[in-house]
């Protein structure tokens, strides 16, 4: 450990969060006020906040301090990070990243091995109680050896990092609801962050992956207001997950009119009709895809002709198939119907025969009362 301390005095000091407000930092970097206004307007749009709030956002961001962010990746595919880094390509969005101090992220950081883990420990210690913990991936509870980082089990690392966190942002459906590792039969005993951590505020940003600007939007909200955004009943920020895909879908009028694509290449599909019959989970899925869209606002799955698979909802993998319409039974009901009917015919005939024989028996043992009987 004494050797490692040198590291702390050396390069790692750069990692600790800069003092001063975001406004000061940006001005120092030569960002003009106009640029800052553009940044604020785009941030407001990104956070799905009304444009009337732009001045207050500007004021808040101006005075915001750079928070230290520790990002832990557990049982995940790095798709969330891939998604997030796509939000990083443009100048304005990258400002969001300039305004946080990402002290640990084992995919993005340059450091490796002991140095990397030390960075995490130093950030946790120096910012105890104030840092933001971001988690992607689920946590295996079955055998701790299923997923470890630097020999530390995911469960231990999460518990330790959560202690000093001001808040936790669970990114992706794995961290929020267990995701694909949690899908039936869940071989690793995977659970979500909120299944383990009970005493910290947790923001769920589900999606497989989540929309990049939703991740940055939540960061921006934390930065802007220093507080958590308003959450729905399963911990998702209402600003992004407040309305279902179906309610915000531009193909909704076709659903209402009863115009559906029956296959992926029929006339209806070509005309851009509703994809409900092809298994669209839009009606039961809450996310911002229909308005925020993907790839810098290019389109979203439904716009590209594919039904929504419901990736921001718990257990979407086990929802009975991506291409099975919501109103269809998930299991094979036809077979059940046949077997039940066949069984019932057999049972019904048996009951009928029993009833008949009962009737016949009663008829047989029926003895007529005679005058003699009465005179007895």
């Amino acid at each position: 450990m004494t050797k490692d301390l040198n590291l702390k005095n050396g390069s790692l000091t750069e990692i600790s969060p800069e003092k001063g407000t975001l406004g000061e930092t940006l001005r120092k970097q030569g960002v003009s006020r106009r640029s800052f206004m553009k940044f604020c307007a785009t941030t407001a749009s990104m956070m799905a906040l009304p444009p009337a709030m732009i001045p207050s956002i500007a004021k808040a961001l101006e005075n915001a301090r750079r928070p230290s962010v520790i990002w832990l990746s557990f049982q995940e595919c790095t798709g969330c990070t891939e998604s997030l880094t796509r939000a990083h390509t443009s100048t304005v969005e990258s400002l969001i990243f300039d305004s946080i101090s990402l002290d640990y992220h084992h995919t993005l950081q340059a450091a490796a091995g002991h140095g990397a883990e030390l960075a995490r420990e130093v950030a946790m210690e120096e910012n105890y109680g104030n840092y933001l913990l971001v988690v992607d991936g689920s946590i295996p509870l079955d055998n701790p050896g299923y997923s470890t980082i630097a020999g530390i089990s995911n469960l231990d690392m999460l518990n330790e990092a959560a202690k000093g966190a001001a808040a936790i942002i669970a990114v992706g459906t794995c961290a929020t609801y267990g995701g694909i590792p949690h899908a039936n039969p869940n071989p690793t005993g995977a659970v979500s962050v909120k299944d383990i951590i009970k005493d910290k505020p947790i923001i769920n940003v589900p999606g497989c992956p989540p929309i990049p600007v939703v991740i940055t939007g939540v960061l921006a909200h934390f930065l802007t207001f220093g507080s958590l955004p308003e959450l729905d009943h399963i911990g998702r920020p209402k600003a992004f997950y407040g309305q279902s895909i179906h309610d915000r879908c531009y193909r909704r009028p076709f659903y209402d009119k009863g115009q559906f694509a029956e296959t992926f290449d029929d006339e209806g599909a070509k005309k851009g009709w509703c994809l409900f019959k092809l298994g669209c989970k839009g009606p039961t899925t809450y996310n911002a895809c229909a308005t925020t869209k993907w790839n810098n606002g290019t389109s979203f799955p439904i716009e590209s002709g594919h039904p929504c698979i419901g990736c921001s909802e718990p257990d979407f993998w086990d929802g009975g198939g991506f291409y099975k319409a919501l109103s269809m039974p998930t299991d094979n009901l036809t077979q059940t119907l046949k077997y039940a009917a066949a069984g019932a015919v057999a049972a019904g005939v048996t009951v009928g025969v029993m009833n008949r024989s009962k009737k016949n028996t009663s008829n047989k043992i029926h003895v007529k009362t005679t005058l003699e009987d009465l005179e007895k």
Partner: protein
């Protein structure tokens, strides 16, 4: 249990259980009635049982003048409710998909607005049926617990369907799950209650006509 888990249960195991009870119950009960048989009629047949029976299935569906005058509210609200109920049940696109998946047959759907209108009409008619039952003294006297239970269990899929269609009160997955569960409860109690009239009414009407047909009298 999350709402999505509840929905998955309703679309999976819940539906399986309900289907088994419904199909088995209905088949057994109908077979029981049919296999009971009737005593051979030793009198000479003076007309056709079958044609008369089939005719009464149709004619008994149309109320005669006296009956209509005596209980017009019951008949009108009853008819309106039944007809209006069949539109959402059989012509709402998601429902057709359900039938297609189970029995393999599909037919064209009606626009959402039309389906919605008929759902509202049947809901209003059902409320009228209930009010009539509770305010009419004779009807109230004849009403037992089963009648009210059957009314409620028929009403629930309609009203939850309406709420799910318009997304009122709860999130969409919860509303859909509740709607499915209400249908499943209806399917489960179906074979054991007066709801069996859906099938037995045709048997009864046929039999009424058949008796008269055999005797050669008008029915």
């Amino acid at each position: 249990m999350t709402e999505i888990e509840l929905l998955s249960w309703a679309r999976g195991p819940g539906l399986q259980i309900a289907t088994i009870v419904f199909v088995a119950g209905v088949v057994i009960r109908i077979l029981e009635i049919l296999l009971l048989g009737r005593k051979a009629n030793l009198a000479e047949a003076k007309g056709s049982e079958m044609s008369n029976g089939l005719r009464t299935i149709v004619t008994r569906t149309i109320p005669d003048k006296t009956t209509f005058k005596r209980s017009s509210v019951t008949i009108v609200s009853g008819y309106v409710f039944h007809i209006a109920m069949f539109i959402p049940l059989f012509f709402f696109a998601p429902h057709i998909l359900f039938f297609k998946d189970v029995i393999g047959v599909s037919w064209p759907s009606l626009p959402g607005a039309v389906v919605d209108a008929f759902a509202v009409i049947s809901i209003i008619a059902m409320i009228a049926v209930l009010i009539n039952r509770l305010t009419n003294r004779v009807m109230r006297y004849l009403t037992n617990f089963e009648d009210l239970l059957v009314w409620l269990l028929t009403f629930l899929p309609l009203i939850t369907g309406y709420f799910a269609f318009h997304r009122i009160g709860l999130t969409a997955p919860s509303l859909l799950a509740i709607h499915l569960l209400s249908v499943e409860v209806l399917l489960i109690v179906f074979p054991f209650t007066k709801l069996m009239h859906t099938f037995t009414l045709f048997l009864a009407r046929w039999y009424n006509g058949a008796i008269s047909g055999y005797r050669g009298v008008a029915s």
